[in-house]
Amino acid sequence: MNEMVRTLEPFEIKDYLRLQLMPHFMCPGCGHGIALRALLWAVHELAIDKNKLAIVSGIGCSGRVGAYIDANTFHTTHGRPLAFATGLKLARPDLTVVVITGDGDCLAIGGNHLIHACRRNLDLTCLMLNNEVYGMTGGQVSPTTSANRLTTTTPGGNAEPTFDACKLAEAAGASFVGREVTRQAMALKNVIRDGIAHPGFSFIEAISDCTEIYGRKNDLGESPEMILSQKSDMRPEAFGNVADEPFRPNRLVTGILAKQARPEYGAAYRDYAVRVKSKPGRPR
């Protein structure tokens, strides 16, 4: 395909979807579709050949998003997509590898893989769809469930503190860290695009609403109410609604939160191999 021509074409999401799988199985009001659209839009703007695009996902609602993308898609095991992606990217540096994961997949069962992926700084993009809940299994508490929220396993309200995934990723060494909300689809697209273009490990948190399970359980309203709440919740300074009753008590900031130049691990390993090969004699 001619990449120059493609970049000039307007974004048409159907060009990037496996339409034979429609209708999709996401719940009405789920924010994951917006995140999916933002991702594909970013892919389009970067003129990435979908034959060279690999989507690696884990288990849960987020894990099922990848299958709808007309690319090389790998639906792996719970919490492990970053580990699969690490092998894939090292073996095939020519591929653009994007991991789609969720708050449970990435921060609970996959937390160890996340911090080491951040540390290595391999050229992967990790898109974590944070809906604060285990949706696929029926609405159990997750590491990002806000304080006092009701879930099927916190019937009296969540007493556990939450993770700030972006701070975690930055502290562990991710060279690009961003966060956006599904309400700001264009901004989400931009941060994903910048993350994919960044040479190194990019961690992007997309705040996505689970309306059917989490919203209903906590009386947060229908999809429009939940998505509007992101306004007062996410960018109080931008919207001047600091005093609004927030739907999420954690006032998270959005945008590109951290960016630093660090050696990309795949290139670093290949350089190491060249150095080793050039040395006379071979260790046995």
Partner: protein
Amino acid sequence: MSHAPTALHGNHACALGAIAAGCRFFAGYPITPSSEVAEHMSRELPHVDGTFIQMEDEIASLAACIGASLGGVKTMTATSGPGFSLMQENLGYAAMTETPCVIINVMRGGPSTGMPTRPAQGDIMQARWGTHGDHPVIVVAPASVQEVYTQTIRAFNLAEEFRTPVIVLYDEIVAHLMETVSLPAKGKAEVKDRKWATGAEVGFMPYAETDDLVPVMSRPGDGHRVHVTGLTHTPDGFPTQKPELADRALRRLVDKIELNRDRIDEVEEIETADADILVVAVGIVARAARRAVEMLRAEGVKAGLLRPVTLWPFPEAQVRNAAERASVIVVPEMNTGQLSLEIERLAGRGKRIRTIHRIDGEPIGPDEIAQTIREA
């Protein structure tokens, strides 16, 4: 054909076998008594444009191997009991997605942390049934350093030929035994590669039902843009829960091993043609058993040895045949009874079975086996 014999220990021979077989990616996590495999791979792989990575745990190690294999590269990991337990979930994923990979499991004393530097054969059943669900698996069990080399190559060939994870199962003794090994000249080992799609296919089916039941594999970037999932899937790669389609997909997985047994089975039989007392043993114990059979033959006792080299799928027909001719079967093993379960299943009614079990971290010697045969 072959280089001058070289003295190697088993874990070193394993790494050299892997490189000769075309392994170009290794992901692993340190664990006694398998760590030398990783150490040697870390030295060898950069010289053949391969990649070594030490992952954060064994779960990630096998995940990375599967990811690399899906990218089109031959991959291996190496571990021991505790790490092998952690790999079981992704082992099932490799079986379900039909992703070739080789897993080295050097058995040590268990359960749990057990006796890390001591040999055992406690993972015979874990190797077969460790991951959940009905799944196909191939396990090879070398008994010498030479065989670690050749069986590691064979493990890669079987993995590629049948698109399945293959486990190489040996124990701490074989891992650290120093023996002379004849290595084939560079590039002379028989190496098989998976069947690749050409990229020109229209309507490519990643899990098509081919004659030999092994689907052709697509390499990312070749234009097929396939979906790979651990969910039960139809030939197009997408999930299904329709009973008839699920049944068809899962039966093909099992059948591709069962119906191709002639290309997978391997047993070594010593003096079994007229054996009245049949010893069945695997790995290092089989070497002691072989010596015991030689001792007994010298005493005029008609003893014989059957050694499964391909341990799983179990050589049922071969064991039945040999067992039919014998009046007593002796099963020595370094566990409380795993191989003997298979023998009891296959030996037939009224057959006398004598077992020897050691779980004290010491090997079973020839004298111990010979004495059991004399008393049989």
